[in-house]
């Protein structure tokens, strides 16, 4: 693959993407149109995140790629391999060691630092899309801050279900100005959007980049009497015992019995190594022995 430039994209393209990133950082939450390239992986597989990572990576960086919080889900593996081959950068599964983290659908449990960059893969960047399908109209709504419709949606949820029925890709307002789609992270992760690291969002097919500079104010939309709640399964991790991490529900047998484990695999492994054990960890250890 030596025929390809560092991190696959040519320098012109990377400069173009960096300009979009800088513009995004200057106007937090604003969707910057960019000339997304056709990548050697399909649209919907993270082409936006990959392009943002490619434009962000330097040879000294250490890259971590997660999908659903896990380092070894197939798509995370595939993207990590892509950058190993095309950029030759160091990769890691350890959140604290990584300088650039590309993610799909999760924010790592470990608190990120100001020398780290979190890159999100975004399928539909437009938070208003399912209320108003037209791009020409939604751009105008953002420009004029006409966000009443967004709350109408939440109102309808409550009147119909008694609660806001959005559980992921939960819309946020950035610095009191732009309403933004945080990508399909579970709403459990929304409070973490206010962080020390730079957050970059890339939507390849929809040709948009947006960003949250460190310490940006990010509020999840809600009503005063129906406040936003970051929810998760009401369990502790059965492997590491963590009570404050986002959990996957795993079906164990044909009878449908379940166990709950951290979706952040690095976080969970780290806790287990440090001696924290969950309810079923002992059983597992015995089985393995």
């Amino acid at each position: 693959m030596t025929d390809y430039n560092f991190a696959y994209l040519d320098e012109q393209t990377k400069r173009m993407i960096r300009r979009a990133i800088l513009k995004g950082l200057a106007i937090p939450g604003y969707q910057v149109p960019f000339a997304s390239r056709e990548m050697p992986m399909p649209y919907g597989w993270g082409t936006g995140g990959v392009q943002v990572s490619a434009a962000t990576l330097t040879p000294d960086d250490t890259l971590k790629v997660i999908d659903q919080g896990a380092d070894d889900t197939t798509n995370a593996v595939s993207i990590r391999k892509f950058f190993e081959v095309t950029a030759g950068v160091a990769t890691t599964e350890n959140t604290t060691e990584a300088s650039v983290i590309q993610t799909r659908h999760r924010i790592p449990e470990a608190e990120l630092r100001d020398d780290q960059i979190l890159v999100y893969q975004v399928p539909i960047p437009e938070p208003l899309r399912f209320l108003e399908p037209r791009e020409t109209e939604t751009r105008k709504m953002h420009a004029l801050e006409e966000y009443g419709l967004m709350h109408v949606k939440l109102y309808e949820d409550i009147s119909q279900h008694g609660a806001i029925a959005t559980s992921y890709a939960y819309p946020v307002k950035v610095e009191g100005r732009y309403v933004m789609d945080p990508s399909p992270i579970p709403k459990f992760d929304n409070p973490k959007l206010e962080m020390s690291a730079i957050q970059l969002f890339g939507a390849g097919r929809e040709q948009r980049i947006y960003a949250l500079p460190p310490y940006t104010k990010v509020e999840s939309l809600d009503f005063e009497d129906y406040p936003f709640e970051a929810t998760k399964a009401d369990h502790a991790c059965d492997m590491c015992g963590a009570e404050n991490s986002y959990l996957d529900e795993v079906i164990m047998d044909d009878q449908g019995s379940r166990m709950f484990v951290c979706s952040d695999t690095d976080f969970c492994a780290g806790r287990q190594q440090a001696g924290h054990l969950g309810a079923l960890a002992a059983v597992n250890a015995e089985d393995a022995a």
């Binding site: 056709e38 659903q68 070894d72 020409t136 609660a163 559980s167 040709q207 695999t265």
Partner: protein
């Protein structure tokens, strides 16, 4: 017991190996060569070049081989390769009146200077399976050839134009925007629309065009002229200061004559639709012309009938099959984190509902 899913990398490698094996198929059958695909599946090659936006029959044939004949996959391979190519510059606009026509027909006139040239068309074949082709050796069919016409073949639409019977297209010297280098901005313009449609999915564009014929923004199209053939491609070389021929490519061009317009102050005039596509792809070229015409409603002062084919944003946002297939198929990627949060929510809502209406639950 629970074991966290590991070994994604090995699974991927194994899947790729299996894929390669499946692609080759039974090894006792001779392998297809790129040349065979290029020469014998040339219409597939043409489609891949057109929708891949890269004129290179050999690469298109390679892509078809690699993709096991899945043309959208082949188009994807070509697109991904195309992105990595450097841009040296842009050609002069090709002059289709200089086309060495293999095929040139008009539905609006019985005959015209340059003549009707049927060319290699399926149009009048009887669609009967030819079992002779199933025989091992395909007998070489020699077709008679005529002398090619030397002088340029005029566009039939120009005969209407000289009479003022058809709207005049206003010439424009602006370099058209490049869809693959600039983000699509809506509302767009005609150059961008034609570009987008030319590389749009043949099936999608065909469906849109068909819908206009069935009354969803009907515009009464006739094929004014359809021509297929090779045109020279010229490019101005900065060092030389003038344009030289750098090669030639086969194109299909379709010009339609559509429903006339007019008002009390302006006499009626026919209107136009246009389609230009790489290779011999006449279904596509005609489809593009019909959709182009439907999308021109605003410029021609027509009313919006609310038809999909009139809706620029709808058509342009959904005609690209690489975007469409990627997004469609990505729903097979893991989404269990999102699904988990939906699970929690539905459980919570059901719990609350059961507390609110316990009698109903009991009654059921």
């Amino acid at each position: 017991m629970y074991v966290a899913v590991k070994g994604g990398e090995r699974a991927i490698d194994n899947a790729h190996a299996w894929l390669a094996e499946e692609r080759r198929g039974d090894t006792s059958i001779a392998e297809l060569s790129i040349e065979q695909i290029r020469e014998q599946l040339s219409l597939a090659v043409n489609r891949v070049m057109a929708e891949g936006s890269l004129y290179d029959p050999d690469l298109a044939a390679l892509a078809i081989k690699q993709s096991r004949g899945d043309l959208i996959e082949a188009i994807f391979l070509i697109r991904a390769y195309r992105t990595t190519l450097p841009r040296f510059g842009s050609s002069e606009p090709v002059k289709t009146e200089d086309m060495a026509c293999d095929r040139r027909i008009s539905a609006t006139f019985k005959d015209a200077p340059g003549g009707q040239v049927l060319g290699p068309t399926f149009d009048y074949t009887h669609r009967l399976l030819d079992f002779k082709l199933a025989a091992e050796s395909d007998p070489q069919a020699d077709a008679e050839t005529a002398k090619p016409r030397r002088e340029p073949i005029p566009h039939i639409m120009e005969f209407l134009n000289t009479e003022g019977l058809i709207q005049t297209e206003i010439a424009c010297e602006d370099t058209p925007p490049d869809l693959t280098r600039e983000p699509m901005e809506l509302p767009s313009n005609r150059a961008l629309r034609l570009q987008s449609l030319a590389r749009g999915d043949e099936g999608f564009v065909l469906g849109m065009a068909y819908s206009t014929q069935r009354g969803y923004a009907r515009n009464h199209a006739f094929v004014g002229e359809l021509r297929i053939g090779a045109v020279p491609v010229e490019m101005e070389i900065p060092e030389l200061g003038f344009a030289i021929e750098i090669g030639e490519m086969t194109l299909t061009e379709c010009e339609t004559v559509n429903q006339f317009q007019g008002s009390k102050t302006e006499p009626p005039q026919f209107t136009r639709g246009y389609g230009l596509v790489f290779g011999q792809s006449e279904r596509k070229a005609i489809s593009v012309a019909l959709v182009d015409r439907a999308l021109r409603w605003k410029e021609l002062g027509e009313s919006d009938s609310g038809a999909a084919a009139q809706d620029e944003e709808f058509v342009l946002s959904h005609c690209d099959n690489i975007q469409a297939t990627g997004f469609l198929e990505h729903i097979k990627l893991p989404h269990y984190v999102d699904f988990q949060s939906e699970l929690e929510l539905v459980r919570k809502l059901r719990r609350e509902a059961a507390e609110t209406y316990p009698m109903q639950e009991a009654a059921e």
